[in-house]
Symmetry: C2
Subunit: 198 residues, 2 copies
Amino acid sequence: MKHKDNHSSALAALKANVLKLTEMQEAEWEDFSSHWHYCSLEKGEYLIREGETERYFYYVISGVLRGYFLIDGEEICVGFTYDDDYSGSYDSFLSQRPSEWYLQAITDTRLLRISHSDLMHMFDQYKSVERWGRMFNAKILIGMSRRQLEVRSYTAEEKFERLMSQSPHIFQLVPQKYLASYLGMTPETLSRLRKKRK
Amino acid sequence: MKHKDNHSSALAALKANVLKLTEMQEAEWEDFSSHWHYCSLEKGEYLIREGETERYFYYVISGVLRGYFLIDGEEICVGFTYDDDYSGSYDSFLSQRPSEWYLQAITDTRLLRISHSDLMHMFDQYKSVERWGRMFNAKILIGMSRRQLEVRSYTAEEKFERLMSQSPHIFQLVPQKYLASYLGMTPETLSRLRKKRK
DNA sequence: CATTCAACTTGATATAGATCAAGTTCGCTT
DNA sequence: AAGCGAACTTGATCTATATCAAGTTGAATG
């Protein structure tokens, strides 16, 4: 029963994560967790494409995803998701309007997901889930504020140095060209900065 | 009773705004609204400064505010708030940690505000308020996603043109130097773009 | 293990927009 | 309405980073 084991250990991880933001009674958790289903993506597959409306909210068990939008044929990377984090085109999920960006697995990825209608139903039913939703949104929002400051305040070199010192592991997980885009520079510039640092 | 009139018409505006996001029973609204208090700022005064922790959540009745952060002595403008919108260093309010940015009134401003502890109490008490909180966070988050795309995808000239066509009124309300910073360019560059357009 | 294609590196050149330096205009204050 | 300072404009440079153009490496595949 490999699949079942996977699923229950994934749910345990999700549970720990959810309980960081809200208290929840055991019966509530039982019901809530029953709406999350296992799914997976192979390297290169898309979770969502521009123009599609996001019908699921995801929790990443393992793997790495990159989010990007496409402007005049150029891919602009907005972020990455790793294990023990949530994913999906969240603004599209919330507004239920077409996504403006893509989410692609850059390694094989295992996830749990809950559908929009199931989650809305959970919000209606349980105040604890409603609170989790509010707190989760708050957390994302705080992260986006930080990131906004980061993107706007620093030169290419400073952004590189800050990422280097704050998340060195990312340089192992993510190809340079995506990182360069994430940092708002060309791959050539990133390559030169790395050389300079050695 | 000028002040009282002010206050009750402001509350009516707030009520209409709140009801856009959630249903609320009349008794709930009565209680919720009793925690909002009137306050005002003169042009140039600060709603909050970097390092202070945001204790209030604001609703702007009239006036214009600008938000900015300060990096190496340079002010970087992140946004503006007008009437019928919410304000405050919202990430600081949510996390109850020191604000990383400033909020300054650029005209005389009238506001309503609710304290963090009162709002938390309201969240505990009413599911409808909890939902409003979640929906409100979602709305902010969606706006930030859009703005992120805007900031990262376009050249100075494109950003200028887009702002010109989407919010021409802003050019009347906000001094050029703040707008330039908001668009991520120097005042000189904005001036040249305006000239070019004529 | 040879081949191939994409990912990186490196160098030469181009350019958008910054910076520096005078003006000029506009809105307050007295 | 005169005078002042801040906000804008305009022009002349400067520079960080993009772009273009070859290489080189390296991982995946038959």
